[in-house]
Symmetry: C2
Subunit: 235 residues, 2 copies
Amino acid sequence: MVKALIFDVFGTVVDWRSGIAREAGAIFAARGLTADALAFADAWRAKYQPAMQQIRAADRGYVALDILHRENLDATLADFGLGDALDNAARADFNRAWEKLPPWPDSVPGLTRLKARYAIATCSNGSIGLMTWLAKFGALPWDAILGADIARDYKPRPQVYLASAAALGLAPSQVMMVAAHNSDLAAARAAGLKTAFLPRPCEYGPGQVDDLQAESDWDVVAADLNDLADKMLGP
Amino acid sequence: MVKALIFDVFGTVVDWRSGIAREAGAIFAARGLTADALAFADAWRAKYQPAMQQIRAADRGYVALDILHRENLDATLADFGLGDALDNAARADFNRAWEKLPPWPDSVPGLTRLKARYAIATCSNGSIGLMTWLAKFGALPWDAILGADIARDYKPRPQVYLASAAALGLAPSQVMMVAAHNSDLAAARAAGLKTAFLPRPCEYGPGQVDDLQAESDWDVVAADLNDLADKMLGP
């Protein structure tokens, strides 16, 4: 029945917080800046949903996430009192930190196993380019890059899930959305997709309180991507 | 300078004529039909450019190639006097022959080598779905599926090349178009891309007269995709 699995990426497949903090820390150290790299990562990411919300609400036409990330970087640097510390070229380079996020340890082996039976694709709010370079960085073996850019809207708007299924020539019920976020799966289910949850309890660091467990009867609940492969491929 | 290679697929990476003839031959044999499978493949493919031309000329809104292929299949069956031989489900299945085309022998090893240094992506007139399933059939290791579907127009319209480069966050001059068709490269060059030619002298069978050699000073001319990897990766 299910022919393709489509994946949330930030948090579900890659560890954005460690990756952004590592890049930020290197950039700050090279300039003798003393800002807290993890706090910077959290603050930059905190501007993510509000920025997309303008586009979901049609207060702004679609622009790729790279542009929102850059606007949010500029604002975060100002918030941290670093508005004069990085020029335009340095900020453009910093913004590419989102292309250099480490996969969770189970991501590449789990995806590789799933790819043998299913089409596997991104269904991220990241752009085609961001997702492509991120996949090259982490050796993520996607069959296709789907998601926000092909729908020209942001999750959890239904069009993002529906356009991703349609791009593969599949009905929504033939596609399973995989995410570490209950809200993403609720939207995918409402659009007619199958759903699989796996927790990433340290995505937001040791104090994480949301998405520690499945909050609905998702079609599959797995411990990680290797366990999802076990469950989807059978013995 | 060049960061990504984007590829024509039908003819350049896969052997559509043998693949379509094999599928057609199996379908005809199973029904006791005596139509010439290679002639059928050539006739079906002959309707490809005229169908896309309607969309390039804006006489028709964009529809994915799968739909054009199906319309052309219906017409080709009628031309061969087979209009009553296949029902709708059988035609839908036949149409998926385009997802089961064999790669040329050098395609997978050449692409795999190129992928280690460059982003490699399709820039085909095939849809995202068609290209994704075709890649799974032949183990083509694309980093991304670009081309007509993301541009919502057909090569050689410039937007297809430009949208493919832009999707990767690259300038046209950072992207090299690889094709076995001089006309495809001429359009890519006019859009600002780098160009690489390799001949596929049997794409149209033993009587092929076009595209037997490079007809301009393309940036790279290679014997096949392994030779392209030699030339792009150096010693």
